[in-house]
Structures are given as structure tokens and as C-alpha cells.
Subunit: 717 residues, 2 copies
Amino acid sequence: MTQNTHRLVFQPSGRQGRVAEGTTLLDAARQLGVDIDSICGGRQTCGKCKVIIESGQFPKYSIASSLDHITPMGEDEARYFAKHPSSLTNHQSSFVHYRLSCAACITGDVLVTVPPESARHRQVVRKDARDRLITIDPILRQMFVEVEPNTLGGRKGDWERLQEALSHEWGLEGLRIDIHALRQLTPALRAGKPAAPTGNPRVTVVVWDEREVVDVRPGFRDAMYGLAVDVGSTTIAAHLCDLHTGAVLATESVMNPQITFGEDLMSRVSYVMMHAEGLGKLHAVVIGALNELATRAVRRAGVNMDDVYEAVLVGNTVMHHILLGLDPTELGAAPFTLATHAPVDVKARDLGLRIHPAANVHLLALQAGHVGADNVGVLIAEAPDQQDEMMLVIDVGTNAEILLGNREGIWSCSSPTGPAFEGAQITHGQRAAPGAIERVRIDRATGRPRFKVIGNDLWSDEQPPERIKATGICGSGIIEAVAELFMAGILRPDGRFSEELGIGSGESATSTHSPRAAPGLRFNGRKAEYVLATADQTAFGREIVITQDDVRNIQLAKAALYAGCKLLMRRRGVERVDRVVLAGAFGSYIDPLHAMVLGMFPDCDLGRVVAVGNAAGDGARIALLNKARRAESAQAARRVNYIETAIDPSFQEEFVNAMHLPNRVDLFPHLRAIGVLPDEQNEPNEDARARRRRERRARNAAPSSQVASSEAQTSTL
Amino acid sequence: MTQNTHRLVFQPSGRQGRVAEGTTLLDAARQLGVDIDSICGGRQTCGKCKVIIESGQFPKYSIASSLDHITPMGEDEARYFAKHPSSLTNHQSSFVHYRLSCAACITGDVLVTVPPESARHRQVVRKDARDRLITIDPILRQMFVEVEPNTLGGRKGDWERLQEALSHEWGLEGLRIDIHALRQLTPALRAGKPAAPTGNPRVTVVVWDEREVVDVRPGFRDAMYGLAVDVGSTTIAAHLCDLHTGAVLATESVMNPQITFGEDLMSRVSYVMMHAEGLGKLHAVVIGALNELATRAVRRAGVNMDDVYEAVLVGNTVMHHILLGLDPTELGAAPFTLATHAPVDVKARDLGLRIHPAANVHLLALQAGHVGADNVGVLIAEAPDQQDEMMLVIDVGTNAEILLGNREGIWSCSSPTGPAFEGAQITHGQRAAPGAIERVRIDRATGRPRFKVIGNDLWSDEQPPERIKATGICGSGIIEAVAELFMAGILRPDGRFSEELGIGSGESATSTHSPRAAPGLRFNGRKAEYVLATADQTAFGREIVITQDDVRNIQLAKAALYAGCKLLMRRRGVERVDRVVLAGAFGSYIDPLHAMVLGMFPDCDLGRVVAVGNAAGDGARIALLNKARRAESAQAARRVNYIETAIDPSFQEEFVNAMHLPNRVDLFPHLRAIGVLPDEQNEPNEDARARRRRERRARNAAPSSQVASSEAQTSTL
């Protein structure tokens, strides 16, 4: 007797075939290679496998599907839907006919739709604004299993019988078990015994990497969360994610408490070198901060800390080492040796991280002494190695980490920008905090500034000065200020204040020294400075100025960044890039136009310069949610061609060439096209510009000694 | 041009062959398959590879060996021997010519002797008294390696370069590294840099199971120790072993502090069941005891705790579970389910054991709910599965674990002897401690006892009574007492005191009630008892007696033990055994003759009944020193045919049959041959014995009511 078979089509994949009568839809899906989720192993408990039975004629598939072609709903299944009515309303149509695919058996031809939430490898949109998907396939899986009870004279331990169940129901072999999970096992089996005297104990197991059981709990559970954390030198940001749906349930951030041991990385490395207990202290405070973040995140999301089974951490190399308790001393000096460049998995308890004690903490690979796991996070988040277009990815911090390339190869380097972009080494520089000037505009006709401070929605000229209370200039503010000064012609291409526009000390800022004198620019002995905020606009009753030194420091920083980009382009053999990606919080705050006018990175269509925010944190989230991409990231990190700027002779050359504000206007066709450069910059003829400058200088009666000294001062840079 | 080769012979193996001129002796040994040790990888540092160059004619090998056939000693080698003069005096002859085989190169034919201490797989004698060898091949290896330094622009981490060195020098691939070792790595490389500016850093690495690096230290080191611990319910004993030589450097023992939570295992399981924090407390106190033992052992041996890299623990199933923090509740009731029966490796730090933090702690496999890792220790120590003779191995404790078999198969069971053999449930029973009666002799003619107490070298009749200060009877004392009472005819085969020999209460013990009356035996109302120590011989001024109930309890215990042995013999299909091995401390104290007279185990040639002491601890030491035998033990544990006495109907039958003192004299031909059984026992004719008993009874005027009641009482047992 041949068995009856029926035709079965799964949407949206379109996979189809004939399966035997009486087969469950879940088994049929597996036979046809359709990917349906399940935690409970077909016990009509988890609801992850629910599908929609379609009714009607489907000529495209030559199938007539009917609800009658499926066995009717039994008690258990009806009980599931009664307990979970919300699971019926996920779809827009109220007429869709949901069934649990593990319960419904085939009695005729059927067309079945697998809703997105039932696909085992669901996808989530990574960023609302951009079309990036993460396929949910974390390194952890949760499995509901039924364990055979022991019998008198039987000699198999609980763990051995659990292994048999996991092998039988889930095909897992050669598992090991964490000691904490082993401790939970016996009580879980006792508590997981159903009321019926004949039932076998049922437990939910969490398996890491198909290798290690990290948790065993009685009965059915589907809570499984993970933390993706970007450990920055300044800020630590954590996302708590649902490992089933990929949803971010809570995002928390905190200042990195290591700051009290040193603002920048090198001072923290010094602290470790100078203090016997230094490493232990720095390690303890950052772990303390992670515990605080985790506590806040689970509280906000209303979940249990014990259900947080994994954490993925990214950070620069120094943060990475300190997190693991590794001596970072060698990172402070050439040859910048890493303790390890490989990805690391370590038990949360071995770090003192108080999530589930058997949880693993994963640290992404490192690229080189200066290019850390955060940049590997950027690499997997932005995936330039999977694009055709030539992409330049810049993550600006104290060092800028730069990636350049496409699927044919990736080059990377770290460029020593210094902390100027973060507001350090700037006379009135400060961190991005309320009161900091973050936006600056300078009128090209009058030279007058206006600005915006963080925490105040109005521009400075839209409100009474005493309401502004500016406290300083943050990174984005100083970049805009320097770029605007340049565009207004107040700064010359070599970075010096245009002495023909300035006024001497003691003269009123509003008095005009020449027909085109800039109101805020003044020369005070050797010092040239531009008044950005007047005394009545600041919180401390004194002016906020931008000095010639400030400009020089920004020039040095931008030249380092630009030189790094150019070095990579030279190595890669390309003249221009198709896309510039600004990663990191800093990248989100700076205006691409101003950054390009300043010459922070090579010319590009401004519409293709994008800020992606915390790409490193995104990379951590991807590694948390998708094990394949996590594994790829370690390989990708090794494939990157790293260039050590410190020993590359062409870096120094590029650096010197990049000191000028947009140094060669022919290199910036896009800027030139939109006409934002000052007039003289739009003339490529250097001789003509020099001539005009000499003429102006003769026209204006600037004190020659001051000019000379100003020139002498800046030429030493 | 063909290369010159020379003839080379290695003693004592006799391996020989031709090798190229200029080859080091170490390389030549490897080419010829001769096993020479080395830690330093041929750097003339460790001295493990030293050999003896023989000089003269060796016709057996057709070789003329000369000291001139070896390159002369260089500076480094001379420095080694200057620093280690003692290494030259290990051999008896003072004329032997030692060389480091990694330094000496061949220039002609040579005969080389490899001294035992230079063999990589050396052997140590396990017990002085018996010819048992352990081949030293622990799961840990110590390796001295030279690591390439990092270069500027090089991107390999310290760990990756160490892996390259371990692969290149030692052929190890696919290693992982413990987080603690990773933390030590960078400082070790820094400190391991030689003074010479060109030298590469050198470190000593400890590798576990060719899989995991657990330690990295600067420079050359050869300190590597391990702990083998037998965790008994009463006593914990630890051996600190040198993992290079196998030597036991220190042995320490301590009372198991869990005793305060319950004397026997089941009361400790109950404590866990009744108290929420019970498991945690029992776990903490036993770990505390292990830490104390480890501290005492390293102090006594003068070594560092940080050089203790491994611990092997054995114990019964309840001890095993509590050590690991596993819930032992299920072991307290049928079906006696284990959390796991597999061997367990767990990090010392995860148990709170304060040896090297990356050390692994290994627990041997378990056989069944009642047969623990201690019995697996016994199994690998006594190795009945590798013998031809039929061996019975008995480990007596509260439960007796019994192994029976030979290389054709091993059967095992656990027999519920109860605590009587440990002195519990005995009127004046006590643990084996100073003051306890441990030896008893009863004169067969007079019925008078004499005895010895622990801590006193004289017998009771060799000293004034007031010097004796007996405090009670320990396990071996009660066994000897009952056996002696039986041999003196004072106890009848059914275990009742022979009423025709006793006296009534109030009569003097020295008055004779019948021609053969035993001086210490009296009947007091319902109670029959034998006075072992008079009031003036005890520490507390009252008699120490053996009551009818005491005898009954010993009978129950010995019947359980005997029944277990017989059950295994029945299953194995053998009538007699070739050898009886008494394991455990208890086995060392009891006299085999008395134990056999009591009928604790089946008849055997008394010359082939041996006490082996702490075989479980020996097994732990073997597993510590030899990785192959450790691995075999887990398989052997599974291969054992375990019989659950609780559900085996023939066990009950055997048990009832075994209640009599040597129950059927025909089963004890060896005892009969040496004539130790009382006269009536040497007559197999039951009818004749019964007749004689009736005659005696009639002859003596024992109060008939008392006899009747005594019979009624005992028949309920």
C-alpha cells in the first residue's frame, strides 16, 4: 500500500513539495527545507512555530488550499491560543487562520504562510533610517526537552540522560556542561516533573555554540537576553537585546569611571605602569560600571539578570586589555604589542560580571596595537568588505581609526589625531555637555559669529545674551568654528588669522579697522584670537575665544586624519572614494560639510557622507545576534591590511601636505562645485593669491612687528 | 658528497642505529625512538636529558665507544654541571661520564646509557611493600620556549607568538589559554627577556592535556606539583606529588569537618534537604578543609602553592556531589540518581580551591548511585580488570563497595553494612582513636580476655589495670572480639551467647558456674553480655562490655558484606576467589583471620588476603601522575557490571543465609584447615552438634525463662 501524499506550498519562500498524509506542518517544513522556529520541540508550548493556513485557489502554485486540509485543533493547541490571544493579532488581517505547525497535520493540499516572527532566522532592521538587516541567529539556543527518568539499577546520571534527550530531540552531540548549569540540573529535573504521575521531567536548556550547556531550568521558558556593550574611553553604552527577536529592550550609558585615573588612554596606561595595583583598580571600576549598566538595563526592561546569557564587548585595545585584566603597558610604546589579537570568550564570573554566572563574555578580535575590537565592530557593522563601492570609514576619537576598501580588500590604519577633536588642547575646549558651543556660523559678509550651545534650542542671536550661558566649545563646535572662519576668509589657507582683517588690542570689537575687518578678530601682542562668545554670553563672564594655537591644534588633528585617509588611498591605489562613513558619537555631531571644508577627509559627494552613530556598538549587537557574522569578524579583522602610520614614510609626507586648510582646491571638486570655499580658494593659481595678499597687506596698516612675530610663531609648527 | 654517519647504541633499551655526524645525542635518541626527557627544548638549561657516555669495547653491540667520539663540553654545558654538581652523583660509580644529550654531538661510534631519571616516562614504585609501578606521564607538561619578539608593524599578539613557539618547538597545535595564564603572559615575556640585547624572551609554560595553557612564567622553571586527595566522610587525606618525579613530598590528613552536620552520609544528605543553605555550608567546609590540607602540604614540602597545577579528588558519591556543589538529595532515596556519572574537570577557582587559579580539579568517574569515585580509585589502583586471578576487592565503610572479577569482566555492588564496623551502633563503640580497644584475644581454655588499646603498646595483661584507660571499642576491636568469642565457643554459630557458659548477675565474674564457664560472660535479666574490660581497666571506671545486641549488629553488618560478595560470585559464576583485597583504612586495621572467622567475606587462602590501605587515594595518585590511566578509569568505571543490591532478590536470600557465624563450615576449607574454628564448627554434622547442645543445656541449670526470652529476642532479628 503506498502512502497518500499531498501537495504543500510554503510562503513567502515558495518552497513546495509532496509530503505524506498525517505529517505535521513543522516536520513537512523541515523536509522541504523551510526554516521554522521552535523552542519546545513540538510540544505545543512555545508557539514559536505558528503559521497561517491560507484558503482558496492559488493558480501560481497550482494548488487549491483549504482549512479542511488540516487536522482540527486539539485541546493543547486550543489552550495555547487561549492563553496567548495576542499571538493571533500580529498580522493585519483579522481573518488569517493561525495554527501551531507542530500540531497541525496534513490531510490535503495546503498553502501555508510562515509569518516573519516564526522564521528561525528572522531578521531585524538594525537602524530605522537605513536598510540594514540582522539575521537573528545567536550563538545561544534555548531548547525545551523531556528527560527520561532514572530507574532503580539504572546508572546514568542526570547529565547523561539530558545529553541523550538533547541528542535525540535536537541532534546535539559531544556537549559539555558548565559547572553552574550542572548544579542547576538535578533541582530543575525535580521541579520540572509534571503533575501527572506518568510524565517525564521537562526542562529548558540554554546551549552555547552547540557546545556547552550554560543553563537548565524547570519547565518551559523562552526568556533569553544578551548585552552588547561599547566600552569607550569616555562613555560606556550598553544595549540589552532579546536574543529571540533581536529587539533592543533597553539602552543605557554611563561615563567610564576610569576617567578619574586619566582622561586619555595613555594616561591610564601610565597609571597602570606607575601603580602596582593600577591594573586591578582600572579593571574593577570598569567592571563595576558594566554591572551598573546591566542592572539598570534589566530593571528598565523588566527582565531578570539571570536570563542574560551572553555579553559582547567592544572597545579600543587599551579598554579591551583592561576589561580582561590584561597588562596594557606594551600598548603605550612601540611596537605596541597586544597580549592577544584573537577574539576572546571568557566566563562572566571570571571577569566579575554579574549576569548569568555561566554566561560567556565575547570580546571581538583586535586588528593591531592601535586598532581595537571597536573598529572590528565598525567593520562588521559597516561591512565595507561586502560592498562594491570604495568606502572610507572613519571612527574619530583620540586616535582615528580608518578603514578603506571594498570587497576586493580592506586597508586600515590608526592616525594620531590627538584629543583636539574632543575639545582638549583647545583654549576654551570642553566635552560635549550642556553649555558647550556645538554649532557655529560666521556671516561671510560681516564676519559676525552666531552659535548654539548644547541644551538650548535657540541660536545665540535669537535670545538675550544672558540666557545663553555658554561654558566652552566642544569638538563639533571647534570644527565648525574653524571651517566657518576659513569660509569667511578670516583664516587663511595656511591657518593663520588674516591680519588685514584683525584689530589691535584695546580697540572696540565693533570698530572697523578696514573695510572688511572681522568684528571678533583681534591681535593682542603675539596672540591672534577670534571672539566667538562675548562676556555677556558666557556662564563665567569672560569671552570665549579661538586662538591661533587652537587653530593650529585643529590643523594638526585634521592633517593627521586626512593623511591617514590619503595613505590608505595611496596603498589601495585609488584617487577618490565613493562613500565616507563617519562612525562614533563624534561623527554624528559634526556637520559633514564643515568637516570636509576643514579637510578632515578627502573630497566626496556630500550626499554620500553619512554619520552612522555608534557603529562599534552596532557591531557588538550584530555579533551578539548572529554567530556567523561574529565568526566572520575575526577572519575579517585578520584579512584587513593594517598600515602602521608610525613607520610609514609616506604618512609624514601626507601629514605635512595636509596642514593647509583644503590644501589643494583641485582635490575638492565637490566643495568647489557648491561654492562654499572662500573666493581665493576657488582660484587655483597660487601666484595670483599671493600677489593679492601682498596687495592687501600693503593696503592695511597692520603693525608689522606683530605680523612678523605671528608668522614666526606659526612657522615653528 | 655523502654525509658521514656513526653507530650509536642506547642502553638500557638496546636501541641502535646510524646517525649523521654532528647530530646531538638528544636528536639521535629521538630518531632512534629512545625516550629522553626535556623541558628546556635543548637549551642546556633543564638537565633533564643528561646521559652517560660509556667507554670501551662492547662486543654484544659490536661497538667501540670512546669519550673522544663526542664533541667536547662547551661553556653552557660546563656551567650547568658546575651549578648542579649533585646531578653527577646520582649513579653509584663515580667514574661515569655525564653529558647533556642536547649539547653533546656525535663524532664517532658511541654507547650511551640513559639513566632512569632521564627517561621521559619514568616509573615510580607506588608502594614500597608491593611491586606496583606508576609510569610518570601526567596530564600536565612543563615547557621552556623562546618567543619571537613583536616588531613595529607586526600585528601578532603575545599569545599568537607563544602559540607559534609551542607549535614549532613542541608540536602543539590548537591550544587555548586560560584567562589567568593570558594575564601572566605579557609580564612574563617582559621579565623573561635575557640580559643580552639580542636574545628573545624565554618563558616556561604549563600545558594541560595538550589543550590548554594554564601558566606562563618568565625564564626556566621546573616546579610542577599536584594534589591527590581522598575525601572520605570521616577523614580527608591529601598527597602532594612532584609531577616530574612522582615523589610524594608531603601527606596530610584532617577530619572531614562536615561531621558536625551529620556523622554518616545520610544525615548529611538530610541536612542538605532540610536547610536552604545546607549544600552551600557543607560545600564550603569541605573546600575549607582541602585548602587547609593544601596549605599544610606545600608548607611541609617547602614549595609554592602557585606551583600546584592540578588536583585529583576521589570520594563516595555524596562527597563527590557536595565537593562540586551538586545537590546530593537524590542519592538519599531510590533510585539513587547521580547528577553525572562522568569524570569532571573543573577550574580550582570555580570550587574556591586556592591552588594555582588556572589549575584543573579532576574528579574520577562514578559507577552508580552508591559506588563513587573512591571505588573507581580502588579500581585503577588494584586493577582487577588487568589480572588473570579472580580478585575480590572490598572497601569497607558505612557502605561496603565490592568489586569482583578479572580481565574477563568486573562485577560490582554496594552493600548496606551500616556503621557497626566503624564502632557505631555498638554499646561501647567508638572511632579508632587513642584509648579504643583495637585488638582482642580470648583464651580458648579459660575464656579470659586480653586486649590492646590504641596508643598503648602493651597488652592489657602486661601492665597494671590502671595504666590501660580503655575508652571503648573501635571497629577492628569489635570484629576481633566477636570472632574470638566465637572461636572460644562463648558465642554460638547463631550469634547467641552460650548460656551454659554464662553466670547470673551479681555473681563474681571469676566464680565458675560450670566447669567451662567463661569468666566475663553473664546474663542479667534479658541482657546477655561479655565483660571485655573491667572497671579498673577503663578511663571512666565502668566495665566495657559486648552485648547480645552488639553481636547482632555485627552479624547484620557482616551478613550484608558476605551477601554482597556471594551475590557477585553468583553473578560471575565462580565458587571461590583467588585473592581478597581489603581496601581502606579499616581494611588495614582488621586482622584477616578474624575477619574471615567472622564470615565477613568468603573463604580464601589467608596468605592471599591482603590489606592495601587507602587504595582510593592510591587511585587518585595514579590518575594525577598518569593521564592514560586516568582516561582508562572512566571507561573501566562504565564497563563494570553494577548490581543494585536493593532490587536483587538473591541478595536478600544470601543475606539471610549469611547471618550465622561461618555459616557453613564446608564453605570455609581454609579456616577449617588451620583449625581456628571451635570444635563443634569443625564437625559438619548438624545433627550431632544439635544433640550435644541439648545435652549441655540439660546439664546446666540456666534459668529457662531467660534462655527462652533470649531466643525469642534474637529470633526477631
